[in-house]
Symmetry: C2
DNA sequence: TCCCTGGTCTGACGATCGTCATATTATCGC
DNA sequence: GCGATAATATGACGATCGTCAGACCAGGGA
């Protein structure tokens, strides 16, 4: 022991390859977990999606549960960062509309790659590791909402986030496409009461054009 | 063929035993699916919970997916019936409050045996059989809500159901108990705007006493 | 009484799950 | 180039999954 410390380079690391591979696994799991549920997909499918074979998984994560927790944290923190930037951005008056209407965008909801809260809500709720991992991001999203909401901001943020999450869940539950879209537009209308109705329709149209 | 029709009794059936056993499987699956997710529990565990062994399962249901669909339909139709009775009942003016506050009861949410929409929402959304099976009940719940809501009833029902579902999902997601309860009370407050704030607290107190 | 029929249990099948020990490849310092 | 080392691939393990064929057991009609 007591090595002479071989320079600053700790060892021969070919590149930041390891971190990149880890990230690939993370994003692959993000897609597949949201599409099939955590229990609905195996680690081998995740690794295949990442372009690897299943054996190497445990060089990057100690268990599937740990992967689920990290995926949850990563996905929700990304959402929280986005909302935070919008809410702190230049045009505050359109910030709320942009947050709400992008969250409730029918095209996005249909991809099954929407917010973790709506696609893996019950899965995460059952896993204490995952639940703890998203605590900070959840509070971050509430803070961002509070920043751009009128009235009793805290109460309003809690209720508005509930409405958005529920609307997306119900939209994906409805077998009738018309009903699915009705949940989204009704939710948007109830969160954005100050806007005139035509405003909503304009913004939804913009959304669809993009 | 062309039997002489042996009286009214079609055959030797010891009792309505079969239907009763089937119902036992159904309720056991209702509990376990909501607690662990459809993919989180096996048919053997369901049969054990029903007091049977796993082999006999396929005498009652053709597959696990079929069981999931029937459980979804059964659970949601029961909820729809309850709401329907309340909404058509005698004291219309408290009907909305009773529906909303019982749905958002913290004690009930904590049991993980609450509404199918909140515990198995994403699971059901991924299974076309289950999704189709709940279509009618979902519309029934919206109808019941429309019956007791003020204003633009249809829009209001869509948004209110979204808020309730989202609040329960988020409440179970929050690791902090205070935050968990805050989602529920904020949602109740936003759906019951006509009531004075103290009214809500009274009713929540009543709820807790019961 | 005895068989017959319906309902349940036993035992087993192939497939897939999470996990890991080991072999193989690629990369860097010398 | 060469040896060391990190990153990935291989292959296999026990467990559990959904599924089903066949044995067991009870009750009612002859």
């Amino acid at each position: 022991m007591a090595e002479p410390i071989p320079l600053q380079a700790p060892a021969a690391q070919p590149a930041g390859k390891r971190a990149e591979t880890r990230q690939r696994i993370l994003t692959a799991a993000g897609h597949l977990f949201r599409e099939h549920g955590v229990d609905g997909i195996g680690v081998d499918a995740v690794m295949k999606e990442a372009g690897l074979t299943h054996g190497g998984f445990y060089l990057h994560f100690p268990s599937k549960e740990a992967l689920a927790a990290e995926v949850s944290q990563s996905l929700l923190e990304k959402a929280a960062r986005t909302w935070d930037e919008i809410s702190c951005g230049p045009d505050r008056n359109t910030a709320l509309r942009r947050i709400v209407l992008s969250y409730l965008d029918p095209a996005h909801v249909a991809t099954a790659q929407s917010c973790l809260l709506t696609t893996l809500g019950s899965d995460v709720a059952r896993r204490s590791k995952s639940r703890e991992a998203i605590g900070g991001a959840l509070r971050g999203m509430l803070d961002a909402l509070s920043r751009v909401l009128p009235g009793r901001k805290r109460q309003n943020a809690l209720a508005s986030l509930s409405t958005m999450v529920g609307a997306v869940v119900l939209s994906r539950l409805a077998d009738d496409p018309a009903l699915a879209e009705a949940f989204l537009t009704a939710a948007a209308a109830s969160i954005l009461p100050a806007q005139r109705a035509c405003d909503r329709k304009e913004l939804l149209a913009e959304q669809e054009d993009a």
